[in-house]
Amino acid sequence: MTDSVDVLNALKIVYTIYTLSVISLIGWFALGLVNPKGKPRIVKPSTFYAYVGILITVGVAIHIVTFNKIPWVEIDFKRDSIQPAEVYKIEMKDHRYIFNGQDIKAGDIHIPCNEYVLFEVDSKDLTYGFGIFRQNNSMVLQMQVVPGNKNDLMWKFHKNGVYHLRSTEYSGPAGAHMYIKDVFEVSGCNEDDKYSQKGADK
């Protein structure tokens, strides 16, 4: 099953190829522009319309591909109609995460493998972020936590691992260090998340 590491690795490759191609294209264009040899070719309107067609196709195709290949998009759309195996209700106030009436701490949340789980986070004052990160600091998921509004995110974990909690939104200097290690533990999977085994930083 695809996870964020796979998606980001694919993005790294695609965007690097794109960047190098575009830089080369402009470099080639600049050299051609100053080259006295050869006459400029007349560009036909049909070329222009074909180019616009490609742009539209690419713009739409990106979203169609990600909808089909990234599992959490469909879950997000259907989360209201899916019954979660677990619901984790977390409250945020005064730059603190509160779970079961107490400040959240390492090992507080145990997540079953391959089950739909729902994170319901409620802010009592400011806009915060809710992000789950691996031991190597790469991101698993995130959402904004807006006060006075519903902030729920459904997820399905497929690998065993221990994960950190970090606020992904700025909430003033007092919230600059909203980072609690090893809050989430996923167990019961056939596969380990090699980037999120406790004690391993890579």
């Binding site: 964020s4 400011l126 509004n149």
Partner: protein, 549 residues
């Protein structure tokens, strides 16, 4: 001539300020102050870059985030707004072939914006007011973290910037429509139809139906259409920011007067939608439209040729305007309270159209340049190509993050700050502005010779490599999970941050070299003379040959 003598008097006599018209002076004032603000913003950027490598002892958390708050205010309003408004204050009358509507108003405009940006900066520098430019409710009125006086100074500063902006807007619209003394009255209808680009659409429609073109010679030139269209977004954006400013101001005054108000009276998500609708009109509205117009103008001036597919370009600008009003939801893809349909339609699909509208502008500009080959690789041409490259990199990066799947792991990461908006602003926008500065240089300075071409070359390469490099390393850090607006105390992303810091230093050095080159060209005397009253009493844009002697 000695270095010191050149520094004071300029290259080969430097800028003779007594030959400058009032319009030239007001343009140069705005541009000079804008360039100085750019340096301040770049310096702040380097402070944050250094802090990201290893936390600096003199920057505590509140100071660091106040720097982060004022950095975009100084960079966008203090620098970009002033340079762009200054350039358009000259270009609109130049292209309309008539004087600026009001030189006095143009002077107030740059003055208000410059003072406003300074006040906003002071709000951060002295009081450490730090709600960031996003101003997410209720953070700007969280007086347990911020001094209300700092908030007052900051908000008044931003409001002054917006008032100055409204002055610019009025001047531009008035310049397009007014009839100068001694001329036959210009009818408003054809001007309005042309300024909105409707004539371009009608021309396409008439051609498709086999009729004669609606307008063979449009009443308004294409770059003015772009400026006019972009200015509509500038107006809407100013109204939204002013409205939010008033709201925050009410709470600040309440707190200062002891009548603290309940911040839950304002729905944070509704506010966020409203604020992003307005703020996004800068990023996805006026910037992209102004840039397209600037590229078209630069391509026409560099080649001396008409633009390829003129009517399409006019129509695309109208499309861009409408698109810019409907894309704000891409900033709320990580907000679970935002309806999915809005995320899908506004956040993803309409936003994807920016790939089309910006792609059209790139294609038209490149084809126009190509049609005139061979061209000399002048400063304006190389910076124009750099600017186009910047947007070719930054716009797709934005489209990628405006995807519901990818946004879940890219939102608020360094991806947004690096490959997207810093590459867009520093490489795309700023290099386009430098191209405009280089091409307008002889006209605005009455032919002052540039001190050093080698310095201009360094400026180009250091800026280009620095801008793309910094964005790239920030992007790589993002892929490994690095957030923006977050402090990392354990050296988690140090290698990337060192490399981004080196690139940031290149950017800063490019600005220093550019500034020295400008100073050595015009001379300190000439530069200061720009801020004195013009000795020529004329509404003409440039001096007559007699006055120029």
């Amino acid at each position: 001539m000695s270095f010191f003598n050149t520094l004071i008097n300029g290259n080969e006599g430097g800028l003779k300020e007594e030959t400058l018209t009032p319009t030239q002076k007001v343009t140069l004032r705005a541009v000079i102050v804008g360039i100085l603000y750019y340096g301040l913003s770049a310096f702040e950027g380097m402070m944050m870059r250094a802090h990201a490598i290893s936390p600096l002892p003199m920057l505590d958390d509140s100071h660091y985030f106040s720097v982060m708050t004022v950095h975009p205010i100084v960079g966008i309003f203090g620098s970009t707004y002033l340079v762009v408004f200054g350039a358009f204050t000259f270009l609109v009358p130049y292209l309309m072939k008539k004087p600026l509507y009001s030189i006095k108003l143009a002077n107030y405009t740059w003055g208000f914006i410059a003072i406003g940006a300074l006040l906003a900066w002071l709000g951060g520098f002295i009081w450490h007011y730090a709600p960031l430019y996003t101003l997410y409710w209720p953070l700007p009125v969280d007086f347990s973290q911020y001094d209300a006086v700092g908030g007052l100074v900051f908000i008044v500063g931003v409001a002054l910037v917006m008032v100055g902006t409204l002055g610019f807007i009025y001047n531009i619209f008035a310049t397009v429509f007014y009839t100068e003394d001694g001329h036959e009255k210009r009818p408003v209808k054809p001007l309005l139809i042309s300024a909105l680009g409707i004539d371009g659409m009608l021309n396409i429609l008439y051609k498709m139906t086999g009729r004669e073109p609606y307008s063979k010679e449009p009443a308004v030139s294409l770059p003015v259409v772009a400026i006019f269209r972009g200015t509509i977004d500038t107006f809407l954006d100013a109204l939204v920011i002013l409205t939010c400013g008033i709201l925050i101001l009410v709470y600040i005054i309440g707190d200062l007067s002891g009548a603290t108000m309940d911040y839950t009276s304002v729905n944070a998500l509704l506010y966020k939608n409203f604020f992003w609708w307005g703020l996004d009109l800068i990023a996805d509205g006026l910037v992209l439209i102004y840039i397209a117009g600037s590229w078209y103008l630069l391509a026409m001036l560099i080649t001396g040729k008409k633009l390829f597919m003129q009517n399409i370009a006019r129509a695309a600008l109208l499309l861009e305007l409408i698109v810019s009003w409907a894309v704000w939801s891409h900033h709320l893809l990580a907000d679970q309270g935002q309806p999915n349909m809005m995320k899908l339609v506004s956040g993803e699909m309409v936003t994807a159209f920016e790939l089309v509208t910006q792609g059209i502008a790139i294609f038209i500009t490149l084809v126009t340049l190509w049609s005139a080959k061979p061209l000399k690789m002048s400063n304006e041409l190389k910076f124009l190509l750099g600017g186009i490259l910047g947007f070719m990199l930054a716009v797709p990066a934005g489209i990628i993050q405006a995807d519901m799947g990818l946004n879940r792991i890219l939102h608020n990461t360094q991806w947004v700050a690096g490959p997207h908006f810093h590459v867009a602003i520093l490489v795309g926008l700023t290099m386009t502005l430098y191209s405009a500065i280089y091409i307008l240089w002889p006209t605005l300075t009455n032919g002052v010779k540039l001190y050093s071409q080698k310095m201009a070359n360094y400026h180009f390469w250091a800026h280009l490599i620095g801008g793309i490099g910094m964005g790239a390393f920030m992007g790589m850090a993002a892929m490994d999970g690095m957030l923006r607006r977050t402090l990392y105390m354990e050296g988690e992303y140090q290698t990337y941050m060192i490399l981004a810091g080196i690139c940031g230093f290149l950017l800063l050095s490019a600005w220093v070299v550019f500034l020295v080159n400008v100073l050595m060209s015009v001379g300190v005397k000439g530069l200061l003379g720009v801020f004195s009253k013009s000795k020529i009493d004329t509404k003409d844009l440039v001096p007559s040959q007699e006055e120029n002697k």
